[in-house]
């Protein structure tokens, strides 16, 4: 495309501003995480007095970070895998089969996405407590309640995206398999899933990231043993002091994997969102 001078200036200004806006906090994150403690206690300095990796060592012993990491991994991974299975099962008939109540189902699922989380927090907690009394399974203070919650919260978005991906796959593919005698479920598993793999991966990463960053329900449904990272990080702050270098070192460490995963799949995420949107 032909570029005018004006456009080139527009591009320079926009990109410079946004680069500074984006990078400045990220720079603070990185530089603070390699500062010694006495250096983060006074006024902010742009450069560390000396670069040290000590915060990355100490952060594991100041608080039980490893346990919170394991808790987050268990809850998030389980919720993501289950959400994918449930969402694949629900998305397939939505994109391929005709059945009564289909529109009602998809509208209900989609509309629950717009409800504020705060609306569900107390009632869900009460239901979990009541169920504990009734059937004796621990829902609060254990992984179970959190997994069920995250799993369901990931569903509307995942179903929407996956139905979009499935609809983009030509129906001829499964029909050929079904003429060969495969059942519909068999065709779904053997034909559709492999083709839709990038999309499924993208949905999985999205569900993972959402659960990984969740704060509200984690604060109510966990106890000291099952606390996840989003709540556990608060413990770097005592009543008098915050160990900012360790807190930010830990933040950086737990962010890196999800940021990298997001970068790897974001292309598929966009195509899925757009496909779901225009349908």
């Amino acid at each position: 495309m032909h570029e005018t001078r004006g456009f080139r200036w527009f591009r320079r200004i926009v990109l410079t501003f946004l680069t500074v806006f984006t990078l400045l906090p990220l720079y603070v994150l990185v530089v603070t995480s390699v500062k010694p403690l006495e250096n983060v206690r006074g006024a902010f300095t742009w450069l560390p007095e000396r670069v040290t990796l000590q915060p990355y060592v100490d952060m594991w012993t100041t608080i039980p970070l490893a346990r919170y990491l394991v808790n987050s991994l268990v809850v998030t991974t389980t919720a993501t895998v289950l959400a994918l299975v449930v969402a694949v099962l629900a998305a397939y008939p939505l994109s391929r089969l005709r059945f009564r109540g289909k529109r009602l189902f998809s509208m209900t699922v989609l509309s629950t996405q717009m409800f504020p989380g705060i609306l569900f927090l107390l009632p869900l907690f009460l239901i979990f407590v009541r169920l504990e009394d009734l059937i004796g399974i621990e829902f609060t203070g254990s992984y179970t309640g959190l997994i069920i919650t995250y799993l369901t919260f990931a569903l509307p978005f995942s179903i929407w995206m996956l139905a979009g991906y499935f609809s983009a796959i030509p129906e001829g593919l499964e029909e050929a398999a079904m003429i060969d005698g495969t059942s519909r479920i068999g065709a779904l598993v053997r034909v559709i899933l492999p083709v839709a793999r990038p999309g499924i991966l993208a949905v999985g990463v999205f569900a993972f990231i959402t659960a990984w960053g969740e704060v509200l329900f984690a604060s109510v449904l966990t106890d000291t043993e099952t606390r996840t990272l989003s709540i556990g990080l608060k413990l770097y702050t005592s009543q008098t002091d915050t160990l900012w270098n360790e807190l930010l070192a830990a933040s950086l460490t737990i962010s890196l994997p999800v940021v990298i995963a997001f970068m790897l799949v974001q292309r598929y995420l966009v195509s899925g969102l757009s496909a779901g949107a225009v349908k």
Partner: protein, 330 residues
Amino acid sequence: MSTTEEQGPDTAENPPAAGPAREPGVRRPRRPGWFLPYGMVLPAAVLEVLVHIIPMALGIYIAFTSLTQLTIRRWTTAPLVGFENFVRGLDPGNALGGALFESLFRTTVYTVLVVGLSWVLGMAAAVALNTRFRGRGVLRTLFLVPYALPVYVAAILWAFMFNQRDGMVNQLLVEDLGLLDEPPFWLIGENAFWVLVVVSVWRLWPFAFLMLLAALQSIPEDLYEAAAIDGASTWRRFTGITLPMVRSANAVVLLVMGLWTFNEFNIPFLLFGDVSPESARLISPLIYEHSFVNWNFGLGAAMSVLLLIALVIASVVYVRLVLPKGNGNA
């Protein structure tokens, strides 16, 4: 649809949203395998009912009780009080209701600002990066980082930077640039609202960028070439080609961002703690405060019901006005 499987298809005929009306009373014979779709959506339906529908119904019920921390363990016995919570909490004349409507207004302003700024930044970046130049891929990845970061990391980081005594922002504004004489407080008082806007935009604009860039890339190049031959200016090409071509992407992006922002809880909760400063008190944190700080669950639930009604009305109006017909996967 949540109920279709449990109650059987017979009752599924009545709900108004169950699809176009068929001739009443005429039942087509069931094809073999008719249960397959129902079986497949069943797990999702059960979870939706357990985690969304029942809690929502329970929330509405709680709004009519005087549930407090004293009755919480035996919540089934909390006394019903009729519309008392609504009258007390939603009357603009008294302090509680006044604060609620102020918060609703503030949340609306906040949503318009955050969504508007995020859209402008996302669109500008998408237009700028939809051209070929060196370093394009690096910038594209960089811009997505704030969105990929866990929200609590972003909020912790900004709280650190906006610290009054020795934060980066005051270091920059007071010491380095000399723009201010006194280091202002950011996380309390009037400034808190603007901090909230900045942090929210920082995290949200990459989403607009990601979606709009994808929409821009699907516009055929020849449209621009034809316009350039006709002598259309860059601005004219933007308003004449780009904007109309991304209209449907825009409609979805604005709706999704609007709902997320209006319901925002995490960022204020992480920046300010249990109780936000008044200038930054959004509706979700306000409900949290009434429920879990003041322990007045009935009042909190009544406010949630009001919020829900407002959101449903706003969304329906928006969908009717803006979205093309037949949206959704049905």
